[in-house]
């Protein structure tokens, strides 16, 4: 629903799953600089058509938080050729569905539709890449919608507010500390001119990636793309995406958030962690294993075993890591204590298990099982062509290349237990971490 995709929410670490083998993927670029990825799957007469822009919330100008996402909503409000909402109506009239999403690093628009309608989708998507037209009234109403969206998805959800606080504390200099939806006070002030300025700066074929997945031949996609996207003028003043980076961290940060709507206390510890980089994905791959080993499966992970099985301390434990990110990523633990166990006790147990793991290293059998599951996930992934499209889009808007995407499964299979321990030493440093407790009103640790 013109939905947000928070880059931190990959709680299951799925972002790290491997991609399709090289043979079924075709890539090329148009003369105007637009990159194209085609993933062929002929099992159903369906196609997913996506355009990904290399811009997201972390590319916003100061004091305009939420403008990337607001613009995403406004992209449905018409062009010189299409009236407000008409694009979605045409998609539906063709039996398709459409939507869009914004993250810190990318903004993407997509349609799922019968394969023979691909040309029409491209025609409309190309139209709004350069010819957006915004009526002031539509902008004002849509600002109400994004404020409602914030009310529904953030202000009404203590856990979402808590994540917002946690990220703001973790990223002291990088814009990743600002929520994708925006801070409410800044959202209220976003204007039509702000949206158009962002649009003109970032929406151009040489800042976009076309991903087409489904029942269509690559030659056909090339011909259609040249017809519809080929004539678009590239932007001449695109600048490199350099954002303020995180300085070294010397002091651990801790926070307690209380909210009357919380009934179940929980704790989160987040660390800054390296992300996949072009030609250098080894550390990220090792971190995928580290997250799985420590908190992947409730019954077989280090934390699950210790806090849920050997000792009755927690009802839920987890570790998550998001491998795909343009800049520094995060590695997080979550513990939900069992009734009668304090957060202080739960956190002490978490720290004891991390310390023990640093001494003893992984269980070789568990390491092997995780490697097997990662290998198998390549096979299962072939069943979901939208997910494959997503992987390419996310990687290519996060500073990675096609070669990186295709090398990723092998990089994962090459990870050793020593690699995991080396990266654990580096990342699990309390001086670069934020620990937060989310408690009911007047709960443990609140003032």
């Amino acid at each position: 629903m013109r939905a947000l995709l928070f880059s931190l929410t990959a709680l299951l670490g799925l972002s790290a799953a491997p991609a399709l083998s090289a043979g079924q993927v075709t890539t090329f670029a148009l003369d105007n600089g637009m990159d194209v990825v085609v993933i062929e799957d002929n099992r159903a007469p369906v196609v997913v058509h996506m355009v990904w822009y290399r811009t997201g919330a972390a590319d916003e100008p100061p004091s305009k938080s939420g403008i990337a996402h607001f613009l995403e909503h406004l992209m449905f409000k018409g062009t010189d050729d299409l009236g407000p909402g008409e694009l979605s109506r045409i998609v539906e009239a063709n039996g398709g569905s459409d939507n869009a999403f914004t993250s810190q690093d990318y903004t993407a628009y997509f349609q799922r539709v019968a394969a023979d309608r691909l040309g029409l989708m491209m025609e409309m998507e190309a139209d709004r890449m350069r010819d957006l037209v915004l009526a002031p009234d539509d902008v004002a109403t849509e600002r109400e919608v994004i404020l409602e969206e914030r009310a529904t998805r953030t202000d009404s959800e203590p856990s979402a507010l808590f994540r917002e606080e946690l990220r703001a504390a973790l990223f002291r200099n990088h814009p990743y500390g600002t929520p994708v939806i925006g801070w409410r006070a800044e959202m209220e002030g976003l204007t039509r001119e702000d949206a158009l300025a962002f649009y003109e700066r970032f929406y151009a074929p040489n800042n976009a990636i076309l991903v087409v997945a489904g029942d269509v031949a690559p030659e056909k996609v090339r011909a259609l793309a040249e017809t519809h996207y080929g004539p678009l003028e590239p932007s001449v003043d695109l600048v490199a995406r350099t954002r303020p980076q995180e300085p070294p961290s010397r002091a651990e940060r801790r926070m307690v958030m209380e909210d009357a709507r919380v009934s179940q206390p929980s704790l989160v510890r987040s660390y800054l962690a390296p992300e996949r980089n072009a030609g250098a994905q080894d550390e990220a791959a090792a971190l995928v294993f580290l997250a799985d080993l420590l908190g992947g499966s409730g019954a077989t992970s280090v934390l699950g075993n210790a806090l849920q099985f050997d000792n009755s301390i927690a009802v839920y434990t987890g570790a998550s890591y998001s491998a795909t990110s343009l800049d520094t990523s995060t590695f997080s633990f979550v513990v939900v204590p069992r009734d009668g166990v304090t957060l202080a006790e739960a956190e002490a147990a978490l720290d004891a298990e991390i310390a023990r793991f640093m001494e003893t290293g992984p269980d070789p059998e568990q390491f092997k099982r995780i490697k097997m599951q990662i290998r198998a996930s390549e096979i299962y992934a072939l069943d979901d062509v939208s997910d494959l499209a997503d992987r390419y889009g996310r990687a290519l808007t996060s500073g990675l290349t096609i070669e990186d995407v295709q090398a990723w499964p092998d990089v994962l299979q090459a990870v050793t237990m020593d690699d995991v321990m080396a990266v654990a030493e580096k990342v699990l440093d309390r001086r670069a971490a934020v620990t937060g407790w989310l408690v009911p009103e007047g709960g443990e640790g609140s003032k």
Partner: protein
């Protein structure tokens, strides 16, 4: 809430097919078990879907939540393996088994690789015929369920669903949350769990589909191996819940910036001759897309919400039309009035030929998009069986949608949509709205 979403998925899948380019085979095993199969050898794995009709509605009186707790425990140890041993064995095979329960069914969604199919199925078989329900596992999982129930106490969506269900379905299992209450779940014993398993998992109520790298002969053998030792019969299924809420407003005070609303009245079943007309009406009023009347009036024109939807619910024991929306407290009253006005406009004026044509194009065109992967197809096939459809249904479905005329749909609109019967349940601090009774 969870129930409604789950039911919708089933209904939506069942309602969309037309000219599926899939070849559904009906398979009967040597032992007499039936399943539907689509062979798809392209990718070396199989998606297998089992549903046992009844699900959480088979909770014994006073034991609310027992089927839910039992379901969560099926994977927590079986045969010679305790919970950890079972998880390790499954992970070594990279198989995935998901056990889930709702008001109408207990479902098992399994995925396994061709290369170790035999071992994966042997493990799944142990879970279905020889689950251990160890006391330690019961206590651990009970703690998780209790934590979940606790968090629902301050979740406005959960509170809205609970209040609406209680008004609509009363003492029927549908009238309360299938996870139970802290009190009922705390009191459950191992014997209760064993009884719930015996009541729920039985061959006389199972529906099976398989999609992927497997032949009909292999599937026949698989069925007998997997389910041959599952008991023949379980507990009797419940009676209809009806729909007992009257028109009016129920406010559940809760301190939060938004008012969360559920609204609805009685609906229509898939067996009814007017069902397809009703299905199209729901699409026009508040269906999934951005172009429904309610999305247009409430979101696009007035900016009152992030999203609003309506659902035509045909679950096993009720037929309900249900809507959901949330909006900031000061604007709740305006939102409620727009919903009522749209309900009345649909009842009084019906839809236009253009709207009908557009909805037909959408619904019939969207059909093939649903069949886009082994897992999704397996779920569609098992839902179709539970709804009593033939395999040929996938080829005739669109004709039924296309056959609905303007005259017919507007007659159904005037009969089915009754603004005075709408019950609104509102959780929050809605300004200018009070409970009506």
């Amino acid at each position: 809430m969870i129930r409604f979403v789950a039911t919708l998925t089933i209904l939506f899948f069942a309602a969309l097919p037309a000219r599926a380019e899939i070849d559904i085979q009906e398979v009967t095993s040597p032992g007499g078990l039936d399943a539907w199969l689509v062979e798809e050898p392209t990718i070396p794995f199989v998606a297998l879907e089992l549903r046992f009709r009844g699900g959480a509605s088979l909770d014994a009186p006073g034991k609310r939540g027992v089927v839910n707790l039992m379901t969560a425990l099926i994977e927590e140890g079986a045969g010679d393996l305790d919970a950890r041993g079972f998880a390790q064995a499954r992970e070594s095979l990279a198989a995935s088994f998901r056990f889930d329960v709702g008001d109408d069914a207990l479902s098992v969604s399994a995925k396994f690789l061709t290369e170790n199919q035999g071992e994966a199925l042997a493990l799944l078989r142990d879970a279905l015929v020889d689950p251990r329900f160890d006391e330690t596992a019961i206590e651990r999982v009970r703690g998780q369920v209790l934590a979940h129930l606790k968090s629902r106490e301050t979740d406005p969506n959960a509170l809205a669903g609970q209040a609406f269900d209680a008004l609509a379905y009363g003492d029927h299992p549908y009238g309360s949350y299938y996870g139970g209450t802290a009190e009922s779940v705390s009191a459950l014993t191992r014997d209760d769990i064993l009884e719930a398993f015996a009541n729920t998992v039985a061959r006389d109520r199972v529906f099976v589909s398989a999609v992927g790298d497997i032949t009909a002969a292999e599937l026949g053998t698989l069925l007998d191996d997997l389910l041959g030792e599952v008991p023949e019969t379980g507990a009797p299924l419940p009676d209809s819940a009806g729909f007992n809420a009257t028109g009016g407003i129920t406010v559940v005070p809760f301190e939060t910036p938004q008012s969360v609303m559920q609204f609805g009245h009685s609906g229509i079943g898939i067996d009814h001759p007017d069902f397809f007309a009703a299905f199209i009406l729901n699409t026009i009023l508040g269906g999934s897309g951005f172009n429904s009347r309610l999305m247009e009036e409430v979101r696009e024109k007035r900016g009152l919400t992030y999203g609003i939807r309506t659902y035509l619910i045909d679950s096993d024991y009720t037929e309900t039309i249900l809507g959901m929306v949330s909006t900031v407290n000061p604007r709740a009253s305006e939102t409620l009035e727009v919903v009522r006005a749209e309900w009345a406009r649909l009842a009084n004026e019906g839809v236009t030929q253009d709207e009908l044509d557009a909805a037909k194009l959408y619904l019939t065109g969207a059909y093939p998009l649903r069949f886009d992967g082994n897992g999704p197809i397996a779920r569609i096939l098992v839902s179709m069986q539970m709804d009593g459809y033939e395999t040929s249904y996938v080829k005739t479905r669109n004709d039924k949608i296309n056959a609905v005329t303007l005259e017919e749909i507007n007659r159904v609109a005037s009969e089915l949509y009754r603004p005075d019967d709408l019950r609104f349940v509102i959780v929050g601090e809605p300004e200018g709205i009070a409970s009506s009774d």
